[in-house]
Symmetry: C2
Subunit: 458 residues, 2 copies
């Protein structure tokens, strides 16, 4: 019963909030491979990246030796608007599962963007502002990143141009309206505003667009418009750095109550949430100070870690962005149309890819109907309607808790609950109506995609 | 600068959370008038109400002498899932307005129901469960109450039947899906399931329904089904009692930091949020222990306090429910079709009506375009996308803060931010597109509605 002293929700005091981000790469023995210039296949230099990204963010992108990067005062203030995020003890879920496991989740959904994306959006917008830029461009698919960036830009008085995959733009008018509320301009992609957009529209008149195409438009707009740069919400090292605030807060909250994790679980698309959540714990594991399992959870329909190749690949479908060494399904891979929510990126953060390749992290893939079952069970006892993405982590946390029930082990399980599902009710509806299906790409499909990987001798 | 010691968000410790609700009526000098039996026009007795409401809730409804009612242990546990709600210091809004006023808001939107309605939903579901009932019925319009009740019933394993105004059912499929996620059955009203529904459909085939009609169906279903009772999310005394948790937490948080309110502001539809927020502060004012203004904010299109009559009226359009003495626009009054969000009830809680009549509380009405302007300005600096209902309070809080700017007064303004606007993006879209209009009922319209008030000599 001493156990019960741990509150349902652990909130740090403002004074306990992190003052520096943690750069896991500084402590990694095998560093992630560098980005390559798509034209020369040589490592990207700061100069190569200068026209696309902000100067300070380029520094962060390339720096794999500085362990702690101070969080600027203004970003710390912004974080206080919606952070600390609670570390929640899932007492109700434990009781429902009748498990001896202790389950915790770090809930990042208590802000209007509805997800953890805001942690990096404000940082990227801040450095753009510091550099005296007028605005930034980006792409968005499901819409969480676009919403987060709109909020950050609105707060700092920066212009924000979002290219939203046309099919999402039409199917998710509410996401679009949230971005407009924050003063962003939202353009369905492909559009007539860019050369690449016009080309695509000419070749495929009624296309619904793709994330790859939206990236290409956003990059073109940024590089061709005075005072603008391009920003991205996942995959990049800088994003992992900013998202480390999730893990740092989680660790501080756990240390406050003397809790030690046995398993840390997160959903993984490009890796922004998982990378941030595990960063400081992984640092300790690498140093031999912590014995803990890390599990990346991905959808069976887009299984980059569990079925992808560890190879250099393009970050975008348009093949204009740098090449990254990562677990990838091939830059042309698209999950089947029945796939719900995000986690649809073909590759994985190079940092997480390296950790996985080094055996420091595990990965599992799960079918989406099982994910929605877990989501609904969770919502009913914990009172939070989870995003489909986050529910991948819920599914595996429940699985691990049920294993503990069999073995009687009192393991401490921590998972990342990245956001809320308010804008995903169409997928929930499909699930309720029994119309949701699972999809697993065939080996032949993957082989065909792998065959198109660029040939890089590194 | 000592000021800055107050954190952006004040969270109480679990041990500081209220353990009893506060019943303001116990301390009121002029008690609210009793409910009347619609057939006899005599005060409703517990026996009269027994078939409709749960026994314990009837006790709470009729008890105007017990000041504190213990919150059952199980409800306290449930509250810990999503409470304490933060009391937020609106530093960013203050800076934007350049006001010397100190602005605080109690944010009730950090739970999946998206509003404060859950505070009473769990209490009502709990007492139904205690009584050994199988389930409860209710109606919902905008959907917040239905969602909250679904969550509470799912948690306790109670059946939940929601009659949702048909036009909302069709226009807000996502709200409906959230309720289904929590296992509620959601029926568009009018339906063929009840006698009153069938009658209405016969007379008006193709009708979009109304809240009054949905109430009548829910009451009929409850009274005609073994093991069921009817529950309601606003207006009633029991609801004010449960919602006092808002005010009690607010007061505890303010006392912790030695903050004294000068003005407390809340939006008012039936009064559930405002009544709960102000309860303990009003109690102190009545006892002469606090000098503070209270402002109820209502929409110009449904101005029950500012333009209504203080008279006995039916609580529902179907005239089957008890009569309540309240500020009312007449039970047949419906706000114009352009009215966005909730706050569309024709009357006002009898407690708040009495306080207003006694001059203990002020009321103002505001046009909806101004409300959405305030909502958007707030969202951009405070990072929370407010519900249209809550934004009525934001509008008046900003107005009062700007008055302080003129006079240089450092007043402390507290307002209730009842919920989030994720399911109201259609209204935001109208606003962004310049298609939102204001509506003010004419005197003639109101007079026509007043003419139909029941004749009661009390």
């Amino acid at each position: 019963m001493a156990e019960k002293k741990i509150p349902y929700k652990i909130y740090l005091e403002e004074s306990e909030m992190p003052k520096a981000w943690y750069n896991l790469r500084a402590d990694m023995i095998n560093k992630p491979a560098p980005l390559l210039n798509p034209k020369t296949l040589e490592p990207m230099t700061a100069e190569d990246l200068a026209g696309v990204f902000c100067d300070e963010l380029i520094k962060q992108e390339l720096d794999d030796t500085t362990a702690y990067v101070e969080i600027p005062e203004e970003i710390q203030s912004f974080y206080k608007m919606y952070r600390p995020a609670p570390l929640v003890r899932a007492y109700c879920l434990e009781e429902k599962l009748q498990t001896p496991a202790k389950i915790y989740y770090k809930f990042e959904g208590n802000n209007t963007s509805g997800s953890h994306k805001l942690n990096s959006a404000i940082a990227q917008a801040y450095y753009a502002k510091q550099q005296g830029l007028k605005g930034v461009t980006t792409e968005t698919g499901a819409g969480q990143w676009g919403t987060a960036l709109s909020m950050a830009c609105s707060y700092l008085g920066l212009d924000c141009k979002v290219y939203m995959v046309k099919v999402s733009y039409e199917q998710k008018p509410f996401r679009r309206e949230v971005m407009r509320t924050y003063g962003a301009s939202v353009t369905p992609s492909p559009s007539m505003e860019t050369e690449v957009g016009r080309k695509i529209l000419e070749a495929h008149p009624g296309t619904g667009g793709s994330l790859g195409c939206a990236i290409s438009e956003a990059v073109e707009k940024a590089t061709k418009t005075e005072g603008y740069r391009y920003v991205l919400g996942s995959v990049l090292n800088q994003v992992m750095l900013h998202q480390s605030v999730i893990g740092l807060e989680t660790m501080a909250a756990m240390e406050k109550y003397d809790i030690k994790p046995d398993i840390i679980i997160g959903c993984a698309g490009g890796g922004s949430n998982l990378g941030g959540l595990i960063a400081p714990f992984m640092g300790k594991k690498i140093k031999g100070e912590l014995d803990c399992r890390f599990i990346a959870v991905e959808p069976q329909s887009c299984p980059s870690l569990t079925r992808g190749k560890y190879a250099y690949d393009y970050c975008d479908t348009g093949m204009v962005c740098p090449l990254s060494k990562m677990y990838t399904l091939g830059s042309g891979f698209m999950p089947a149309a029945n796939h719900a929510g995000g986690l649809r990126y073909h590759g994985m953060s190079s940092t997480l890819s390296q950790l996985y390749d080094d055996g420091l992290m595990e990965a599992v893939s799960v079918p989406q109907t099982a994910v929605f079952e877990a989501a609904e069970a969770f919502a009913r006892v914990e009172g939070i309607l989870p995003a489909p993405e986050s529910s991948h982590a819920i599914k595996v946390a429940i699985d691990e808790a049920l294993k503990c029930k069999e073995t009687g082990e009192e393991k401490t399980i921590v998972f990342g609950l990245t956001g809320t599902g308010y804008f995903d009710m169409m997928s929930y509806e499909k699930f309720h109506d029994g119309k949701m299906t699972d999809y697993v790409p065939t080996d032949a499909e993957l082989e065909a995609s792998f065959a198109k990987l660029p040939k890089v001798e590194k």
